[in-house]
């Protein structure tokens, strides 16, 4: 079973990368850019047919390793 996880910085947390990328896109002439947020992306495949169980495993992976819960939020999607 396959899932995708997107991890983004919590709102209000300073995003130095995003800021620089935004400025650069602006300098490159993309004037209609309203906002850009950057995050991490994982594609996870696990050997488990029960969707509920599988999703819980992915959730556990996120909370234990992939996501820094203090500054990041995450979302899991079934693929």
């Amino acid at each position: 079973m396959k899932f995708s996880v997107t991890v983004t910085l919590k709102k209000d947390v300073l995003d130095p990368q995003g800021k620089v990328v935004e400025n650069t896109l602006d300098n490159l002439g993309f004037k209609n850019l309203k906002s850009i947020r950057q995050g991490k992306f994982f594609e996870i495949e696990i050997n488990e047919n029960d969707q509920e169980k599988a999703k819980n495993t992915v959730k556990e992976m996120c909370e234990k390793l992939l996501v820094n819960l203090i500054i990041e939020d995450y979302k899991i999607n079934k693929l």
């Binding site: 919590k10 709102k11 209000d12 300073l14 130095p16 620089v20 400025n23 820094n68 203090i70 500054i71």
Partner: protein
């Protein structure tokens, strides 16, 4: 809005303090004003529990240009060169988010140094973690080290020295202290004292966000529907922006545009504006709608209390606004005139022309509470250490136990993650007693080292306090530097606890005695109280950061043995003090007894004579003897070289372990050429210095005659294993 008891409490203010606020204002404060009081009156900004004790420290010498009270201390190293330095703690943020906590700690201390007009030239750190077995330790260590490296490497300032220790007392409360050292021209130092009326108050750097609005903001969240959105957030470091800020500030400082400058550190805009006004006995008026903000709808309360990083406040000379603005624009940084100096001696905060808060500056600064907290003397109960009954162990096994322990293992796993070479002036990198940094384009250098000994300080705070200053002094001397001054970071538990306050008072007493005797003044520092959890306080951990001067560079001296067939001389007397030693701890798990005592007179004599010998080029390598004693120090001189040492046991040796592992103070090991032996011995004798010629350097092997003989390569492996396996 009514200020309830709960709000006051959430702002960390005592009822008595709130009463005092009302008296000073002659009315009730509003929430903004309360927030400002709480920020200025908290321990971190006001030093309310420590101030009366800190006053006792010696802070002056002929080399001191600026002692405590400014952003950093300043010392004179001749030829119009000055060194600016300070150490600061970032303990709690680093425990919550190790990478960002450590990174912003480095960023903060760098700003303290470059606000004064100095280009930072070196970074140091003292980091203390819980037991390696504790479930959090590994990730905290990883996060802190990469955070320190991440910030320093990116901004391009070498991280050259530090100390790393593990002790279960830090399980729930790690220590992350960062020190920065900068170089300035003596006649171009910038201070934070405001001068003149109607001068522009300028905000430069990053935008303000809702970062680190501590407990204070939680209180405010209660009054808002969007509580979730307004949660106080962790500060994230942006070393790239700091690099721009550094270059922009130094560029502006070439000119005479700046009257006063202050970084926005703890309590951000509040403390920076209040401090500048207070020092100049002036008032300050700010138009808060002009503050560059990262988020929409930020309130004056949030703006004043935000601890967003990479920001500065500057008071400019008349007519310099455009000139200064161009510089900041060049570096892509915000530059906004947000207010002016006034003669009201008040902090006046306006938002869209409406006055939102008005507080007399004196009430925030001079009238902040000061406490003479109750403290108790350390109870030195009788110690029943009977070392006679300990199981006998072999010398080599004990040595291996120590060299392979987390605290004594080689730190290159850490130091290899720090850029130590950038700026191309690092004459001696990490790994020796002190790092050596050349003054750019000159033939002189400074040496720097940070040190602490929590176990010593805990068992007898006065002796411990004295000991760290001396150990730090010794580390500088070992690389041939004349110690000039120190900065200190005092990490302690809860000051409202009598014993903790006693440890604080007594450690300071020890520090004071040593500093006075060695003429080694304190020029800056930081106090971090409330380290601990659930009434369990950390061991008292004062950290000393020292700076010494090498006025003429020859070849940088370190503790590595240079060749075979040289003599090793032990300078200073060995008594065999094993209580509180690393030998007992690593081999028998005994942490008990009194720390070794320092005799300040011997300390000074021995140190000065070592410096004299180094000055006359009579020494090939030098090392002070500290934790682990003689045998550990000797092996440190061999590990990492191709040369070992062959040592003869003294004729009338009492106890092997006492001689080889005793932690008696004020001792050095020096490697000397055979041909210089006679003249060195004569100098030592003429000056009544106790010394022993203990052995000869040799190829490949480390050896105590009749006890053991081991390959240096083996020792190296033993010493380098722990971190790589952890």
């Amino acid at each position: 809005m009514e200020i309830t008891k709960k709000i006051i409490e959430k702002h960390g203010l005592k009822e008595s303090e709130f009463k005092k606020i009302k008296k000073l204002l002659k009315r009730n404060p509003n929430l903004l004003e309360l927030g400002i009081f709480s920020a200025m009156w908290n321990e971190h900004c006001s030093y309310k529990s420590s101030r009366i004790h800190l006053k006792k420290l010696p802070t002056k010498s002929k080399n001191v240009i600026q002692g405590p009270g400014e952003n950093a201390g300043v010392i004179d190293i001749g030829d119009n060169d000055a060194i600016v330095f300070k150490i600061e703690s970032h303990n709690h943020p680093s425990y919550i988010e190790p990478y960002q906590g450590a990174a912003t700690g480095v960023g903060g201390i760098l700003r303290d140094v470059f606000t004064m007009g100095a280009r930072p030239i070196a970074l140091l750190n003292s980091i203390h973690f819980g037991s390696p077995d504790h479930y959090k330790t590994k990730s905290l260590l990883n996060g802190v080290v990469s955070g320190i490296g991440g910030y320093g490497n990116c901004i391009g300032i070498p991280t050259v020295a530090g100390e790393t220790k593990f002790n279960e007392t830090y399980n729930e409360n790690i220590l992350v202290n960062a020190m920065a050292v900068g170089h300035a021209k003596k006649n171009k130092i910038f201070y934070s004292k405001a001068k003149g009326l109607n001068k522009s108050v300028v905000y430069v750097g990053s935008k303000t966000g809702r970062d680190g609005i501590h407990g204070a903001s939680m209180a405010s969240a209660e009054f808002d529907k969007n509580t979730e959105e307004k949660k106080p957030t962790v500060q994230v470091g942006d070393p790239f922006t700091e690099k721009l800020l550094l270059e922009a500030c130094l560029e502006l400082m070439k000119d005479d545009s700046i009257i006063a400058i202050q970084d926005m550190g703890a309590a951000g805009l509040t403390s920076s504006s209040v401090e500048m006004a207070s020092k100049g006995s002036l008032g300050i008026e700010l138009d808060l709608e002009k503050v560059p903000c990262r988020e929409n709808n930020m309130t004056p309360y949030e703006m004043m209390l935000s601890e967003s990083q990479e920001r500065m406040l500057i008071i400019l000379e008349d007519g310099k606004e455009n000139y200064a603005k161009d510089i900041f624009k060049k570096w892509d940084l915000d530059f906004v005139v947000i207010g002016k100096t006034t003669d009201t001696k008040k902090l006046v905060l306006k938002y869209n022309n409406e006055i939102k808060g008005e507080i007399p500056i004196e009430a925030l600064a001079l009238n902040a509470p000061i406490y003479d907290r109750e403290w108790s003397k350390k109870d030195i109960s009788k110690i029943n250490l009977n070392l006679k009954n300990l199981k006998k162990i072999n010398l080599l096994d004990s040595l291996i136990k120590i060299l392979s322990s987390p605290n004594h293992s080689n730190k290159s796993w850490i130091t290899n993650q720090y850029d130590q070479m950038v700026m191309c002036d690092t004459l001696q990198r990490s790994g020796s007693d002190a790092a050596i940094i050349r003054i750019h384009n000159k033939d002189k250098a400074i040496a720097v080292s940070v040190d602490s000994s929590a176990n010593y300080c805990r068992s007898h705070p006065i002796s411990g306090g004295k000991q760290i200053v001396c150990e730090n002094w010794r580390n500088l001397i070992s690389v041939g530097a004349k110690p000039i001054a120190i900065t200190n970071c005092l990490n302690f538990g809860n000051p409202e606890n009598k014993e903790v306050m006693g440890e604080f008072t007594e450690c300071l007493q020890g520090i004071k005695e040593a500093c006075e005797y060695l003429e080694y003044p304190v020029v800056s520092g930081n106090v971090s109280f409330y380290n601990g959890t659930n009434k369990k306080n950390i061991y008292p951990t004062p950290v000393i950061g020292g700076v010494g001067l090498i006025s003429k560079i020859s070849k940088p001296l370190n503790h590595n043995i240079k060749s075979n067939d040289n003599h090793i001389i032990l300078v200073g007397k060995t008594f065999g003090h094993l209580e509180q030693s690393c030998f007992l701890k690593e081999n028998y798990s005994i942490i008990d007894g009194m720390p070794p005592q320092v005799n300040l007179q011997n300390e000074k004599n021995n140190g000065e004579i070592i410096l004299k010998l180094i000055g006359e080029n009579l020494i090939l390598s030098a090392h002070d003897i500290s934790s682990g004693g003689l045998l550990v120090a000797l092996s440190e001189m061999s590990i990492g070289t191709k040369f070992g040492i062959k040592i003869e046991k003294p004729k009338n040796l009492g106890s092997l372990s006492e001689y080889f592992f005793g932690e008696d103070q004020s001792r050095y090991l020096i490697e000397v050429d055979k041909n210089n032996l006679a003249s060195i011995e004569k100098i030592l004798k003429d000056n009544n210095i106790f010394f022993e010629n203990i052995g000869i350097t040799q190829n490949e092997y480390f050896e105590v005659v009749d006890e053991f003989k081991i390959k240096i390569k083996e020792l190296y492996k033993i010493n380098n294993e722990w971190y790589n396996k952890y």
